[in-house]
C-alpha cells in the first residue's frame, strides 16, 4: 500500500461524502462511540520508516504492529516508555489515535508526551506534515499532540514519529496488603518523594508497586518501602498493561480519571487503581458514575460496554456547549465534510 492509495481513498470519500471508519489491527474496536462508515483498512501501510537510537526517535507507518516496533527497540535496549497496550494486534496509528497509555504513564508520561510528529491525511485528502523528528520544536501549533487521542476524527495518521527512551537498568516489584483509602494515601505520599516508582496497581486489597531505574536507586527504594518482593512481576505488569488481569473482566467497565489524591468517591464496584491513584476502574451498571467523577474533579469513560450502550450513554463525558462548539470548529478545520470516524469520539461530530 502506498501513501497515494490512502490519499485516493480519502479524496474519493470526501468527494462522495462517504463516511470512513479507519482501522488497522482492530484491537480497539471496543473503545469509544459509534463505529460508522466504510472500513478504510490501513494495516497494509506498514513498516518502520526510520529508527535512530541515539537521536531517540522512531518513525513508523500507521499499520506497523506495535510488536514489531517494540522488538526493534528492544534490540537497542530502548522502549516506548508510555507502555501502550497491544490488545494482540495494536498498531502505531491506532495507538496514537486512541491515546491509551499503560502502567508506566505515572512515571514517564502519556502517549501525547512522546509524539514528536505526524504525517496526516486530512479529511480532504491533503497530506500534512506536522512536528518532526527532533525533541524540541515549537514552530507552529502542536498539531501532532492534538492528534493523540482524537480517535481518527481529525485525519488519517499515515506516519507517526515517537520519542523513545532507554529501558530501565533494573526493575523490581513489591506487593503490600492495603485497603483502598490507604493505597491512595500511600501512593500520593510516595509520589512526593524522589522514589523510582514506575507503576502501581491495586486490586482486591493488594497493592503492587513497580520500581524502575538505576540499580542502586531500585535497591535503596526497596529497602525504604518494605513490602514483599514479587517473583512474577513482569508477568503481572503485562496482565495489567494488556488488561488480561481479572480486575478488567466484565462488559460494564468504567475508567475514572481523577486527581490522584482524591479520597474514594463513594461508588460501589471498585475493581482497580492505577497511576498513583489517578486512574480507577469500576464495574457494574452505575447511574451515578459520571456525576461522582465530575464532583471529584475528574471524568468517567464508559470503557468496555456493548456498543448500543456506549452510543446511548456516550463513551466519554459530555462537553460543555461552548467546548463542543470549539471541537466542531476544529473538526471542521481538518475534516470539513465530517467523513472521518464520525461519532467515534462524540455523537455530535
Amino acid at each position: 500500500m502506498q501513501l497515494d492509495d490512502l490519499v485516493e481513498r480519502v479524496r474519493a470519500a470526501h468527494d462522495s461524502r462517504t463516511a470512513l471508519r479507519i482501522r488497522a489491527g482492530g484491537s480497539k474496536d471496543f473503545y469509544g462511540g459509534m463505529l460508522a462508515g466504510d472500513v478504510l483498512d490501513v494495516s497494509a501501510y506498514r513498516g518502520i520508516v526510520a529508527y535512530e537510537p541515539t537521536e531517540l526517535y522512531l518513525t513508523a507507518k500507521c499499520g506497523t504492529p506495535l510488536a514489531e516496533i517494540e522488538s526493534a527497540l528492544a534490540e537497542k535496549g530502548q522502549m516506548l516508555a508510555f507502555e501502550p497496550p497491544h490488545f494482540c494486534a495494536a498498531t502505531a496509528g491506532g495507538c496514537v489515535a486512541a491515546g491509551l497509555s499503560g502502567p508506566r504513564r505515572q512515571q514517564a508520561g502519556a502517549v501525547r508526551d512522546f509524539v514528536l510528529g505526524v504525517k496526516l491525511v486530512d479529511g480532504t485528502g491533503q497530506v500534512l506534515d506536522f512536528g518532526g523528528q527532533v525533541m524540541k520544536n515549537v514552530a507552529g501549533y502542536d498539531v501532532s499532540r492534538l492528534i493523540a487521542g482524537s480517535l481518527g476524527t481529525l485525519g488519517v495518521i499515515a506516519e507517526v514519529t515517537l520519542k523513545v527512551l532507554p529501558q530501565p537498568v533494573a526493575e523490581k516489584t513489591l506487593v503490600f496488603e492495603m485497603d483502598e483509602a490507604r493505597t491512595i494515601a500511600s501512593l500520593n505520599r510516595w509520589g512526593g518523594q524522589p522514589l523510582p516508582v514506575s507503576a502501581s496497581f491495586w486490586h482486591d486489597g493488594q497493592l503492587w508497586l513497580r520500581l524502575a531505574g538505576a540499580r542502586a536507586a531500585v535497591v535503596a527504594a526497596c529497602d525504604k518501602l518494605g513490602g514483599t518482593v514479587a517473583v512474577d512481576g513482569e508477568k503481572h505488569w503485562n496482565s495489567v498493561r494488556e488488561q488480561t488481569h481479572p480486575a478488567f473482566a466484565g462488559n460494564r467497565l468504567w475508567r475514572l480519571a481523577l486527581p490522584s489524591s482524591v479520597p474514594p468517591p463513594g461508588l460501589d464496584g471498585l475493581r482497580a487503581i492505577e497511576w498513583g491513584g489517578a486512574l480507577r476502574w469500576y464495574a457494574g451498571d452505575l447511574d451515578a458514575v459520571r456525576g461522582a467523577a465530575a464532583r471529584a474533579g475528574g471524568h468517567a469513560v464508559l470503557y468496555r460496554a456493548p456498543e448500543s450502550l456506549r452510543c446511548r450513554e456516550g463513551a466519554f463525558a459530555a462537553l460543555t456547549p461552548a467546548m463542543l462548539a470549539l471541537h466542531r470548529r476544529l473538526k471542521q478545520a481538518l475534516d470539513p465534510a465530517g467523513i472521518l470516524n464520525p461519532g467515534r469520539l462524540y455523537a455530535e461530530f
Binding site: E55, S150, G192
Partner: protein, 497 residues
C-alpha cells in the same frame, strides 16, 4: 493593496479615542496606560530589534477585567497582544500598532500549592522561579527552567512552550502543565485540561501550549510539581574537536543514559564566559560538555561513573566532576550566564534557536564558521546538546550601518540550514515576528493553511496577536521571491509580484 492576495494579513484602523473611552469604563485609571511615555517600555520584548508602539496597555488585576478588555476589543475589532514579563526572544509580545497590549503581570498570585497531589495553581503573571520557591518547603519544584526563570512568567512559558537546561529528562512546559483557564478572543472562558489525566475530547492543552498568544489569553495555570532529587552532580569534559564532543553526546544516549542536563559550549562561548563568571572552564578546548546526573546518592554515583567512562572513551581531554554543590553551581553558572557574558563583549547580539538532529552538530558548526566569514560577524555557540537545540549568539553592533541586516541574514541562514538538516527553526523561543519568514521554509502551504484554519476555530476575527507565528501565504510568496532554494519554488501556486 493586498486585498487580492490570498490570506493577506487584515489591516486594522483603530479609533484610539473611542477605544480609550471604552477601556476607561472597564478599567480603573491605574490599570490603563495610554500616554506615549508610559507605552514606551512596552514597545518590544526581549528581542529589541523589533519595536512598535501600541495604542494602549491594559494591566488587569482580575480575570473579570481580562474578559472585559477582550470583549471590548472584540466589539471594536481591535488587535490584542498578551504579554507576561516581556522576556521572550522572538518578538512574540511585540505590540500591534493599532492594538492594545494586555499585560498579565498583575495577575501574579500563587493560588494554591497542594503538596499531596503535587500541583500548584497559579495566575499567569507568577514568575517561573517563584513556583519552585513556593514548593520548596515540601521538597517539590516545577521542572521547566528557562534561563530567564527569575523573571519570565508562567503565562509566557505556556505561550512559548518554554524549555530549559533540564528538559531532556523532565520535559518542556507541555509536559508539566495540567490545566489552563483560557479566555477566548470573544471573552468566553474555557477550562482546558484538569488535575485528572486524559481530559475528554481533543487534547486542547497541547494546542494552546506554545500557541504564542494566538488562540486565547491564559488566566490560570495548574502545573505539575515533582520531588526534588536528593543530589545532583555535574561532569565537565573538554574536547579538542567539536565533532568529538558531538559524538560523545550520542555515545551517552547510546549507553542508555538520559542525563538531567547535557549542554555544550564552543570555544568563543567559553572565552566570553570565563572572565565574567570564573567557572573554571578549559579555555584551550574546542568545546566543553556539561553533563548532570541527579537522583539518590547511589544513583548519581552510578551514573557519574558510567558517564565518565563514556566520555573518556569518546576522547575527552579532561574530565572533572563537581565535588560540592558550590562547584556544581559554578560549572552551571557559566552556561546560564552565557547570554549576558556575550553581551559584555559585543554591543549587541542576536540569539538563534534552531534544533537539529544531534548527529548533524559538527556539520552545523562548520557551516556557522563559514557564515562568520561570509557575513563578517562573530558567533558564539551554546547548545542544549541533549535535545539538539542550538543557540548561536551572533555578535553585531546596531550602531554600525548594515550590521543588523547582516546579523539577520546570518540568523536566517542558520535557521534554514536547521530545517535542511532535518530540524526546526525554533526549539523553545517561538516564532513570534522574528522567524515568521522561516516558517515558510519549515512548512509548505497546506500546513500553513491548516494552522490558519485552527487559528480561526479559536479566534474567528483574527484579533489575537495578528501577524505573528503563522505567516500568510502572501508573505511566504514574497519571501520565496527573495529566497529561492535549490531552484525549487516553495509556493508555485501563487502569483508573484
Amino acid at each position: 493593496m493586498t486585498g487580492i492576495m490570498p490570506n493577506a494579513e487584515p489591516l486594522f484602523d483603530t479609533d484610539k479615542p473611542a477605544l480609550v473611552a471604552r477601556l476607561r469604563v472597564i478599567l480603573p485609571a491605574h490599570c490603563l496606560l495610554v500616554d506615549e511615555e508610559d507605552l514606551r517600555p512596552y514597545e518590544c520584548d526581549g528581542l529589541t530589534a523589533f519595536r512598535e508602539l501600541p495604542l494602549a496597555v491594559c494591566l488587569p488585576e482580575s480575570e473579570g477585567q481580562v474578559v472585559d478588555v477582550l470583549r471590548t476589543c472584540h466589539r471594536l475589532g481591535v488587535p490584542v497582544v498578551a504579554r507576561g514579563a516581556g522576556t521572550g526572544l522572538s518578538g512574540g509580545a511585540m505590540p500591534h500598532g493599532q492594538g492594545v497590549v494586555l499585560s498579565l503581570a498583575r495577575l501574579n498570585r500563587i493560588l494554591r500549592v497542594d503538596p499531596l497531589a503535587r500541583v500548584a495553581v497559579v495566575q499567569p503573571g507568577v514568575r517561573n522561579l517563584a513556583v519552585s520557591e513556593a514548593s520548596a518547603p515540601h521538597g517539590l519544584y516545577y521542572a521547566p527552567d528557562p534561563s530567564s526563570q527569575i523573571a519570565c512568567t508562567i503565562g509566557g512559558n505556556v505561550a512559548e512552550n518554554s524549555g530549559g537546561v533540564h528538559c531532556l529528562k523532565y520535559g518542556l512546559t507541555v509536559h508539566n502543565v495540567l490545566r489552563v483557564r483560557v479566555v477566548s478572543s470573544e471573552g468566553e472562558i474555557f477550562e482546558i485540561g484538569s488535575e485528572a489525566p486524559d481530559s475528554p475530547g481533543y487534547d486542547l492543552l497541547a494546542l494552546v501550549i506554545g500557541s504564542e498568544g494566538m488562540l486565547g489569553v491564559v488566566t490560570e495555570v495548574t502545573v505539575k510539581l515533582v520531588p526534588k532529587p536528593e543530589l545532583a552532580q555535574v561532569v565537565m569534559a573538554s574536547f579538542d574537536d567539536v565533532a568529538k564532543a558531538g559524538d560523545a553526546v550520542a555515545a551517552i544516549i547510546a549507553a542508555g543514559i538520559i542525563p538531567a542536563g547535557l549542554e555544550m559550549m564552543d570555544k568563543p562561548a567559553t572565552a566570553a564566559v570565563e572572565p565574567y563568571v570564573k567557572a573554571g572552564y578549559d579555555l584551550d578546548a574546542a568545546a566543553i560538555l556539561l553533563c548532570e546526573a541527579d537522583g539518590t546518592p547511589e544513583e548519581v554515583a552510578e551514573e557519574i561513573a558510567s558517564v565518565t567512562a563514556v566520555l573518556t572513551a569518546a576522547g575527552a581531554r579532561d574530565i572533572r566532576v563537581s565535588q560540592s554543590e558550590a562547584e556544581r553551581l559554578r560549572f552551571w553558572a557559566g552556561r546560564k550566564a552565557a547570554f549576558p557574558a556575550v553581551g559584555r563583549i559585543t554591543p549587541d547580539y542576536y540569539c538563534m534557536d534552531g534544533t537539529i538532529p544531534r548527529k548533524r552538530l559538527a556539520e552545523m558548526l562548520a557551516a556557522i564558521a563559514g557564515m562568520e566569514k561570509k557575513y563578517s560577524l562573530r558567533c558564539a555557540n551554546v547548545f542544549h546538546a541533549g535535545d539538539g537545540n542550538l543557540h548561536p549568539l551572533i555578535m553585531y553592533d546596531a550602531a554600525r550601518p548594515g550590521e543588523w541586516e547582516r546579523a539577520e541574514a546570518f540568523g536566517a541562514e542558520i535557521l534554514e540550514l536547521s530545517v535542511a538538516l532535518g530540524g526546526s527553526i525554533t526549539g523553545e523561543h517561538g516564532v513570534g515576528i522574528e522567524k515568521i519568514n522561516q516558517m515558510c521554509v519549515q512548512y509548505k502551504a497546506p500546513e500553513l493553511e491548516a494552522f490558519r484554519r485552527i487559528k480561526r476555530a479559536f479566534d474567528e476575527a483574527g484579533l489575537l496577536n495578528p501577524g505573528k507565528a503563522v505567516p500568510s501565504l502572501h508573505r511566504c510568496a514574497e519571501y520565496g521571491r527573495m529566497h529561492v532554494h535549490h531552484g525549487d519554488l516553495k509556493f508555485p501556486e501563487l502569483e508573484r509580484f
